[in-house]
């Protein structure tokens, strides 16, 4: 296994530049959240109570599962199993849809309670972080869908599957970010 440690980054290098930039933005936003929270402990703890942890946890499971399906899709295409690859991507998209539905319900609940970005500092962070991530999920799904259609059209095989790996890498990044975002905003008080 160790001999393989020289592989290049999976997928197109261009997506990795984008991923690094995104990780940086999220990293800075996370730290900004943590610092602000430590300055307004009571306010944050108070409003955190109203966040829906159940949906949050469910969303974590959905994203993890969709990531797993994406991994399966990548493994499948490496063996020329196009149908399996398409299935994997389709299931991943389905999980993504589940995430979007749950999140939309959560947002509409908050919006109907009159909560906006300017309501207070906590909601400003909560909404910008989760909404920013929400848009990344949509973007990731657009990418996965594009790959799915290309895969179905037979554009990928065991030799040429950079596209699948590219989309997969981006999708895992979206998952990775949520893995930190969820406990940070919903759990830690």
């Amino acid at each position: 296994m160790d001999t393989e440690r020289t592989k290049p980054l999976p997928g197109d290098f261009a997506i990795w530049i984008f991923i690094f930039a995104e990780l940086m933005v999220f990293g800075v936003l996370f730290i900004a959240y943590a610092v602000t929270r430590s300055l307004h402990r009571e306010e944050f703890a108070y409003y955190q109570q109203f966040l829906d942890r159940e949906t949050g946890a469910l969303n974590t499971l959905l994203l993890i599962t969709s990531s797993y399906f994406v991994v399966k899709a990548v493994l499948a295409i490496k063996q020329d199993k196009v149908q399996q690859c398409v299935n994997g991507l389709g299931l991943a998209l389905l999980c993504g849809c589940g995430f979007l539905v749950a999140k939309t319900l959560e947002f509409s609940d908050k919006f109907s309670a009159g909560i906006r970005l300017s309501t207070n500092t906590f909601y400003m962070f909560y909404l910008s972080l989760t909404f920013f991530h929400f848009m990344h999920v949509i973007l990731g799904m657009v990418i996965l869908a594009a790959i799915l259609f290309k895969a179905r059209a037979g554009a990928y095989n065991h030799r040429e599957h950079t596209g699948v790996e590219t989309g997969a890498s981006y999708w895992h990044m979206v998952d990775l970010v949520w893995i930190i975002l969820f406990p940070l905003v919903y759990i830690i008080r």
Binding site: A14, I17, F18, A21, V25, A32, S118, F125, S128
Partner: protein, 457 residues
């Protein structure tokens, strides 16, 4: 020169340099007014000098961008320009309109100019950088549309390269965002909000696409590096520009009555804005190091590398210095802003314009590169202007730091004018450095007239 119609660029470049000279002269007038308050008062009050200084800058950069487009697009598209006559016609219209506007600024009191051009019918005047009478603004739109039509038809009917497409999107964005200059509500907050859609989305958005594509073009030509490599880096750099720069607009929404969340979003995204500039520096040096040919035009290579470095310093580093909201709280609207503005404009847009002029002018005059003597002079002018600009920036930064301290930071803040008097020394130093800059510019112009034998054809 591969295509005859590229020659229309020549007029544009000459006009650009002339207007640049005018800009610098008015800059010196303003600089002197900073310390000798009644200099030329009331004939040319400061606001008029400033209007001429900034408007000439914008207009000459537009001339340079248009010239650059007319020069590089035929070569990229591998065909003659769609309508060379239109380019020449637009040149004269733009030049005359620009000249008339500047003469209007100088001959009339601004309020008389407003009355004369019937500003009350469609008021758009009197906002920073957008001081032009409404009729001039409409003229700019018409010229821009004719220009984009001409370039667009050439690009779309010829070979489509990344460079020409990126340039085209940059130019279209330039025209589209300029339309927000016609929106001038009574509500000052909204006015300012959309004013930045012109100003910020120009200089920290679409203009960077233009900058990137011109730089990429020149680098391909002078280094001989594979187009494929240069083009994908161009894409990545401008992608980073827009990813950081669009939300980065938020750093202008800190203190104008807009919601508080802009402080966070503006700070975070604009803190990333140096990244594309840094990538551009790496890119330019990498390409030059990997060069496959020694281009005889050393001066153009120097300008290209200079652009990459100075754009990073001016726009990247000096921008970052005061972009975080807690810092900007103190520095907003002080000489720190002026310092950043000077180096960023010089480093990014002035230098890229001089890069393409330096590369294209000898070719349009029938040679690959100027002779030894002219190039040496041009490099001298490069160093004089660049070093002068570094010092102007440093002096203004020093002035700004003191101003912030005296007027905003101490326990017992002093009034604006008192603070200004205490930092006078830096304004004097800035003015002398400005003279050095002017000497550099004179040398630059002189380098066009050096007569030499044995010039490489």
């Amino acid at each position: 020169m591969k295509y005859q119609s590229q020659l229309v660029a020549k007029n544009y470049f000459i006009a650009a340099i002339l207007l640049f000279t005018g800009q610098i002269l008015f800059g010196l007038i303003m600089g002197l007014q900073y310390v000798v308050g009644d200099f030329l008062f009331p004939e040319i009050p400061f606001n008029v000098a400033r209007m001429v200084h900034t408007n000439l800058l914008i207009v000459w950069l537009l001339f340079a961008f248009m010239g650059a487009a007319y020069f590089l697009v035929p070569e990229e598209s591998e065909r003659e320009l769609y309508a060379p006559w239109l380019a020449t016609l637009m040149f004269w219209i733009f030049l005359i309109a620009g000249a008339l506007t500047v003469i209007g600024y100088l001959l009339f009191t601004y309020s008389d100019l407003a009355a004369l051009t019937r500003n009350e019918l469609f008021p758009t005047m009197g906002r920073e950088f957008l001081e032009q009478p409404t009729i001039t603004k409409i003229g700019i739109v018409i010229v821009a549309l004719a220009f984009i039509f001409n370039i667009g038809m050439t690009v779309l009917t010829g070979r489509k390269t990344v460079i020409s497409l990126v340039l085209l999107t940059g130019l279209v964005g330039l025209a589209v965002f300029f339309l927000f200059s016609f929106y001038n509500p009574d509500n000052l907050v909204l006015d300012k909000y959309y004013w930045w859609w012109v100003v910020h989305l120009w200089v920290e958005g679409v203009w960077e696409l233009i900058l990137g594509s011109i730089l990429a073009f020149v680098l391909i030509k002078v280094t001989g590096v594979d187009r494929e490599v240069i083009e994908k880096w161009l894409y990545i750099i401008i992608a980073m520009t827009l990813i950081t720069g669009i939300i980065g607009t938020g750093h202008h929404y800190f203190w104008i009555g807009t919601p508080d969340y802009w402080q966070w979003l503006g700070s975070v995204f604009s803190a990333m804005e140096p990244i594309p500039f840094f990538m551009m520096t790496l890119f330019a040096f990498n390409m030059v190091n990997k060069r496959r040919r020694e281009h005889p035009n050393k001066a153009a290579v120097l300008w290209a590398l200079g652009t990459a470095v100075m754009a990073f310093l001016g726009a990247g580093v000096w921008g970052f210095l005061h972009t975080l909201a807690p810092v900007n709280f103190y520095t907003h609207g002080t000489q720190i802003t002026a310092a950043h503005g000077h180096m960023a404009f010089y480093g990014a847009y002035v230098m890229i314009s001089l890069t393409i002029i330096s590369y294209a002018m000898p070719i349009m005059r029938g040679r690959t590169a100027n002779g030894e003597k002219a190039q040496v002079l041009e490099m001298w002018s490069f160093w004089l202007m660049t070093i002068a600009m570094v010092f102007i920036t440093l002096f203004l930064t020093a002035a700004g730091i003191l101003q912030v301290y005296l007027q905003r930071f101490t326990e017992d803040p002093v009034p604006f004018m008192v603070a200004q008097q205490k930092i006078e020394i830096f304004y004097w130093l800035r003015e002398f450095t400005g003279l050095v800059f002017l000497i550099g510019l004179v040398l630059y112009i002189y380098s066009f007239f050096v007569k030499e034998e044995n010039v490489a054809a």
